[in-house]
């Protein structure tokens, strides 16, 4: 469960990224956040993972107030979130396998059970045959799938993706979206930021539309 109550975010230069945001996402729900570039989509997602702190208001993730979380507790919050970043943040100095292994190493899995989980995650996104490849040799769509594998390998209850289909052609985008839908179907709460709702076609998912930092209803 994710809930925002009267959240404001003002950057040090005086720019108001978010103004009076309030919504609740229930457990197992799939929600899209739409809005033009600079509307505050990324800021909203980053507040959930405590990468940034709100200027005002409360943010609750699984009933814990993230906005007042001590910095020592932040790593444990992030371990419950699977995140796909806008700029991917792939590590190019190691193989596809090792990229996906990193979250499990951080959680302290032993090598054997970690290997099984990494393979399962790579299999889910269709990259199992490329596990030994260097990320630099992957196509744009494959890199995105690598990011998704890294986000789900820890089996998080919440999956957050920031424009996961940016720079991908329509077929790839559809693939990626279907992948997120399949995670949603097994009970994961999914939150995806996309520039506009066109890509969704006629699907029934809930949409939070941001416009200049405000929610449109």
């Amino acid at each position: 469960m994710i809930s925002f109550s009267n959240v404001y975010k003002r950057y040090p230069n005086g720019f108001d990224a978010l103004k009076n945001i309030a919504f609740t996402i229930k457990l197992g729900e799939m929600v899209f956040i739409t809005g033009h570039s600079g509307a505050g989509k990324s800021t909203l997602l980053r507040l959930i993972a405590a990468i940034e702190r709100p200027t005002l208001g409360g943010i609750f993730v699984n009933n814990k107030n993230v906005s007042t979380l001590k910095s020592r507790a932040i790593p444990f919050l992030r371990r419950n979130l699977g995140m796909v970043f806008q700029d991917q943040k792939i590590l190019f100095d190691r193989s596809v396998f090792d990229n996906v292994l990193l979250p499990l190493q951080i959680c302290g899995f032993d090598h054997w059970s970690a290997t099984g989980r990494v393979r399962a995650a790579l299999d889910k996104v269709g990259l199992l045959s490329r596990e030994k490849a260097r990320p630099i040799t992957l196509s744009g769509g494959e890199r995105q799938r690598l990011c998704i594998a890294r986000a789900i390998v820890n089996r998080p209850s919440i999956l957050i993706a920031d424009e996961p289909t940016a720079n991908l052609d329509a077929d790839y985008s559809k693939d990626i979206m279907n992948m997120f839908k399949s995670f949603h179907q097994v009970g994961v709460t999914v939150l995806i930021a996309i520039p506009d709702a066109e890509i969704l076609g006629r699907s029934q998912e809930r949409i939070l539309a941001l416009n200049h930092g405000k929610l449109e209803i």
């Binding site: 995140m83 943040k89 100095d93 990193l102 979250p103 951080i106 959680c107 899995f109 032993d110 890294r150």
Partner: protein
């Protein structure tokens, strides 16, 4: 518990991989640390050897009594009987001027010069072993015998061990100062190495933070690296000392034959060797910790 072990094993493995990734540069670092450490360790080793040597000597404090050249047999036997009755004297040995000259001929390369002498310039002498090892008692005994008739000069052979002890104390101070200075150098070397590593691993650190790594998790491989580098430097220092001792000892064998004394350099004891490695690893760890504490907070995910 398993997670904790796994974390430490992971960090240790990462540190080793980091060492292997730039073997030449890391080896140079380790050698620098080793050379820096071999200096105080070497002086410490020498002091230990000197101390052991002076310990051997001062076990039996001896007084050498030299008589005047014109001392006759009667005087000598009188002194002999006085020495026998003296409560402070454990035993003594008389060395006549003739036997002293013989010894001098045998034990040195001065045979020609000795032969050319027309008369024996050496005095009769007594070597006296005292009961007490107390410096004050020995001094008292020396002063007393000095007043006896025909006693030319009496030398307290343990006097030089006292001087040596004073010198050793000075040496220990020097070791302490050297250790402090070069420990600082080790910390600085490690600090800089870790700083460079943190800079090159910026991306990895940022991503790790984003996906839930604690500060400890990020810090640990660097601390292990520092400690391993310190230990390796300590091992190098130990080896340098071992090589130096090997060479000095092979030179010393000649001297040993000349003077007929047991003169060997010994390496650090097992305890001292382990302390050396522990100390250098702690310093490496400290350097890494300082570096991580100064640089890691600057890398925050954006």
């Amino acid at each position: 518990m398993i997670a904790w072990l796994s974390h430490h094993w992971h960090a240790f493995f990462l540190a080793l991989r980091q060492l292997a990734s730039a073997p030449f540069a890391n080896l140079l670092n380790i050698i620098v640390i080793g050379v820096a450490f071999s200096l105080p360790t070497g002086v410490y080793m020498l002091l230990g050897n000197l101390q052991a040597f002076s310990g051997q000597m001062s076990e039996a404090p001896q007084l050498s009594l030299f008589l005047e050249l014109d001392a006759d047999k009667a005087t000598i036997s009188k002194i002999e009987s006085r020495l026998k009755q003296h409560p402070q004297v454990a035993n003594f040995q008389f060395i006549s001027k003739d036997s002293a000259l013989k010894q001098l001929k045998q034990g040195s390369e001065l045979t020609d010069i000795v032969d050319s002498l027309t008369q024996n310039p050496l005095p009769d002498a007594f070597i006296i072993n005292a009961n007490s090892t107390e410096p004050e008692a020995l001094e008292q005994l020396r002063a007393e015998i000095q007043k006896w008739p025909k006693a030319e000069y009496i030398q307290l052979d343990s006097a030089w061990t006292k001087r040596l002890d004073a010198l050793l104390k000075l040496g220990q101070l020097a070791v302490l100062m050297l250790t402090a200075l070069l420990s600082f150098a080790l910390v600085v070397v490690t600090f800089n190495t870790i700083r460079l590593q943190i800079l090159t691993k910026r991306d990895e650190i940022e991503v790790s933070k984003l996906i839930g790594a604690t500060s400890n998790f990020i810090r640990r491989p660097f601390l292990y690296f520092g400690a391993i580098q310190g230990v390796a430097g300590g091992v190098i220092a130990w080896l340098i000392i071992a090589i130096v001792i090997h060479f000095i000892n092979s030179e010393l064998t000649d001297l040993v034959q000349l003077y007929a004394v047991d003169l060997h350099l010994y390496h650090l004891s097992v305890e001292d060797s382990i302390s050396l490695l522990l100390f250098s690893s702690c310093l490496g760890w400290l350097g890494a910790w300082l570096s991580v504490a100064t640089h890691l907070w600057q890398i925050e995910p954006k």
